[in-house]
């Protein structure tokens, strides 16, 4: 059976999947992030070398993706908190769309600043 059979194909399920996958991707990124930070204490030369390498446009593109993932996870998490702890609203698809748009908005803002 496909991972996405017909019964799962609706916007709120996609919002759930994006929230989880963004969280997973951020969890994988975090050790790398901490390792690079540790270079500031342990090996300044290596850190400078790394920072020079990040000028690479592919790394910039990855940074934008990372910002979108962060914003997606934040907005998706706020959406879940809102639906579980605030009085119920029937416009759940609108909330999910708003969370997605917020994430993309952060990505665009970051992109404008980076490029």
């Amino acid at each position: 059976m496909s991972i996405f059979p017909a019964h799962r194909n609706h916007p709120i399920y996609w919002a759930f999947v994006l929230h989880r996958l963004s969280g997973l991707a951020l969890a994988l990124f975090l050790p790398v992030h901490l390792y690079v930070l540790s270079l500031a204490i342990g090996d300044g030369g290596k850190l400078d070398e790394f920072l020079d390498w990040t000028a690479n446009p592919w790394v910039k593109a990855a940074e934008v993706t990372l910002v979108v993932l962060l914003a997606l996870h934040m907005a998706g998490g706020l959406r879940v908190l809102a639906l579980e702890f605030l009085p119920w609203r029937d416009n759940q698809k609108t909330l999910a769309a708003f969370a997605g748009a917020t994430a993309l908005g952060f990505g665009v803002l970051y992109l404008l600043n980076v490029v």
Binding site: A6, H7, R8, H10, I12, L83, E84, D90, Q92
Partner: protein, 244 residues
């Protein structure tokens, strides 16, 4: 009549045969005006293969017995028109997901209704309730919350749509939790707050991931997710008050 006209007047129907281990069997069924999926299944059983097992009762969307997976989605087959869901003249009909299959399209609902019992989804009248009518304000927030969830027909479609049910066999499921929410908001009940404890555990309302497949597929447009979110808030409040 051309072969193309003939094809437009027939449906290719794949129906699950057997138990959990089975296979789809194909049938050709005449396409009629205003034909429902239940009409299709009934045609197959009465005209093509009398050994086909399935379940239905009222045929008008009240009893909740005819739910099946239709082209991969859980649906009430008596109110699902073929013209709305046929995929290029093809329909795949399977037993409800997340239920043990008895045979063909008939599933065992026992565990599903046992969960209603385990969730404490039973109305407990107050002492002396028989002597006086409860004066329920139809516009009170509690009554409105109960009204939003009360029209469940127990069809099991939400249970079939729910991934948490398939991940955690102990999960009470959207239908039972939705029923409990109506009782928590029922001022005629002897102790509405007592309905919170049975649904506050690992297999209760907090196991819900709010994917909302239950609400998307509910044929009566209920939102069990809304009910479960209400239970999450009330159980948390009860915990802070030291009542859980």
């Amino acid at each position: 009549m051309s072969a193309m006209d003939e094809a437009a007047k027939t449906l290719q129907v794949d129906i699950w045969r057997g138990g959990a281990q089975g296979a789809f069997q194909s049938f050709t069924v005449p396409h009629e005006v205003s034909q429902t999926v239940l009409d299709v299944v009934t045609y197959v059983q009465r005209r093509l293969d009398p050994t086909l097992s399935y379940r239905f009762s009222c045929r008008v969307g009240m009893c909740g017995t005819c739910a099946m997976m239709v082209n991969g989605r859980p649906r009430w087959t008596c109110r699902t028109h073929v013209d709305r869901i046929a995929d290029d003249g093809r329909i795949a009909i399977a037993p409800l997901r997340n239920f043990p299959v008895i045979k063909d399209l008939a599933v065992d609902m026992t565990a599903f209704f046992d969960k209603w019992r385990d969730a404490g989804a039973r109305f407990q009248p107050r002492d002396g309730a028989a002597d006086s009518f409860a004066n329920v304000d139809p516009n009170s927030p509690a009554r409105r919350a109960a009204s939003d969830a009360i029209e469940c027909i127990g069809c099991g479609i939400c249970h079939a749509a729910c991934d948490v049910v398939s991940w955690n066999p102990d999960y009470l499921g959207p239908a039972a939790l939705n029923r409990v929410w109506t009782l928590v908001n029922d001022e005629r009940d002897a102790d509405p707050a007592a309905h919170l404890a049975p649904v506050a555990g690992d297999a209760g309302c907090h196991a819900c991931h709010s994917q909302q497949g239950c609400a998307v597929h509910c044929p009566n447009s209920l939102s069990p997710t809304a009910s479960i979110a209400g239970l999450k808030r009330q159980t948390l409040a009860a915990l802070f008050r030291g009542q859980l």
